[in-house]
Symmetry: C2
């Protein structure tokens, strides 16, 4: 009736962060300190938890070397991320919540939803592939729809693109994106890029051009239109 293995919300949370962080550092091994920082606990706490996770077969752990999800751990992490992203989309599409505020809501709900309810939500939404931020929603089996994106920090100049994904979760940044009309789906052209000044000049379709800092531009991913 509910989830397969029944991990605690805390454990699910560690696994989720672990997965996200591992995508960044592609050698796969994550220092425990980094994990601690993004879960929001002290380093010692993370060490303790990592040892627990290792005993449960969810991660590989090399003392002073780092942590890495096992395939079992990754499977669970993808389950949590699937729940999180489906909930986000549900909150935006069905309950009319704002794009920028659903992350925190989903954070709590992702640990309380049974497989059955999740399946119904999935069906109601028409088995969507992407959440409101453009992040891919893993399938129940664990498959993640992948697409190659470029960011506004690196794509070609004077070419039409479509914003596909915004890789940030904090409400302030997302509200800015909204105010600037750069939400997923918007057509944009990069008019200039100044690597010295670290700025990018972007023009959303039928709107005035605007300037973004390079780090911000790197969080906005685009694809070719059509």
């Amino acid at each position: 009736m509910s989830r397969s293995a029944e991990l605690t919300p805390t454990v699910e949370n560690y696994l989720k962060h672990l997965f996200h962080q591992q995508q960044q550092s592609p050698d796969g091994w994550l220092p425990t300190g980094r994990l601690a920082a993004c879960v929001g606990v002290t380093p010692g706490t993370a060490t303790t938890m990592v040892k627990t996770l290792a005993e449960a077969g969810l991660v590989d752990y090399e003392p002073r070397g780092g942590v890495r999800l096992t395939s079992a751990g990754e499977r669970h992490a993808l389950g949590v991320i699937r729940r999180h992203r489906l909930i986000e989309l549900f909150l935006v599409r069905e309950l009319d919540l704002d794009w920028s505020e659903v992350h925190d809501e989903a954070e709590r709900l992702e640990h309380a939803l049974s497989d059955k309810v999740l399946e119904r939500i999935d069906r109601l939404l028409g088995y969507p592939q992407f959440d409101p931020h453009g992040d891919p929603i893993p399938r129940a089996g664990g498959h993640v729809p992948t697409t190659e994106y470029q960011s506004l920090a690196e794509c070609a100049l004077h070419r039409a693109f479509v914003v596909a994904r915004v890789t940030a979760q904090d409400a302030v940044f997302l509200q800015m994106i909204q105010r600037l009309h750069l939400v997923p789906g918007t057509r944009v052209v990069v008019e200039a890029r100044d690597t010295a000044a670290q700025t990018v000049t972007v023009r959303p379709r039928s709107r005035p051009a605007l300037n973004l800092g390079l780090p911000a531009a790197a969080k906005i991913l685009v694809t070719a239109p059509g």
Copy 2:
């Protein structure tokens, strides 16, 4: 952004059960053993928790005398019950889950929903007054729509009534109600009542008559039609 006082799910759960039980025993004082039984913990655990709740001002506690919700405790309890019942209705109406299975689902979700999401669900459902079992949904302010009901164990014979409410949560019982066509909204007539044999003969509108035991009949509440 979320709930007012932030009680733990465990505490919310105790308060909810306390409220339900208090409705039964109207002197208001509930023995801790009874509370323990319905929360599903050992008596000692309930005693410990009750002392914690008393310190937090949520209950009055007389050692060896019993427990009673304070008005603060009742306010919180009604909040939990409101969430629970709105979720149940939402799951049935919007996600097409079965009447008989939503209780357990709501049990988990009632502790994870923010006020904001709850308000949206309330709006989506059209500010309903009753959940799928006919139980009243407390308003955000704490007001509970009350109606006087009679049960099939005590109502007049040969008079038309409408099933308004089924005061049970276990799936097996509810599935039986469904199979027997006695879900809320159904018109029924009690054709006979045998207090010695402890049975009631009920005829749902345009269906053959059927027999119920008295305790089962007492859980099915009816009102005058119209």
